[in-house]
Symmetry: C2
């Protein structure tokens, strides 16, 4: 399943950790948005890892699960996503 992960993490250090975690699970689409193709198990593992990083008062992470139909309807206007060549490991 495709999971769109968007995050608001004001603290640089925590945001860096979240970014690092997400890079090993998905593709960086926008400054604070990733798209991750995950099994249920991988999703829970990712969620759990992020849950340990964030500060519940300051940070917010949202997870949008997209079925195949919704995935087909993804639309965008404007430029390319942030490019980053780090290796993709799960």
């Amino acid at each position: 399943m495709l999971i769109v992960v968007s995050y608001d993490i004001p603290n640089d250090k925590r945001r860096g950790k979240v970014l690092k975690a997400l890079k090993s699970y998905g593709e960086w689409m926008q400054y604070s948005v990733f798209e991750c193709n995950l099994t249920k198990e991988q999703y829970l593992k990712l969620r759990n890892r992020l849950d340990k990083i964030i500060n519940y008062q300051e940070d917010s992470i949202r997870f949008y699960t997209l079925c195949d139909d919704c995935k087909e309807k993804i639309d965008r206007i404007g430029g390319t996503q942030p490019r980053d060549e780090s290796v993709f490991i799960i």
Copy 2:
């Protein structure tokens, strides 16, 4: 239908215009993420309005349509969304 709109707009002035437009169509969930309950017609109207604001080289806006099933699965960890009391007009 629910449309999740996420945006990367480095330029303050353009980001302000996009924010203003989105505020009249949906709810501000995270710094650069809105959730909008829209008809097809409203969606096209919003998309068109945003398309006129952005710079195609620098800016990026993504639209994720969520069906009722996917809407049910929205998940989040962490704090509250950005609060803003502006009036909600469509």
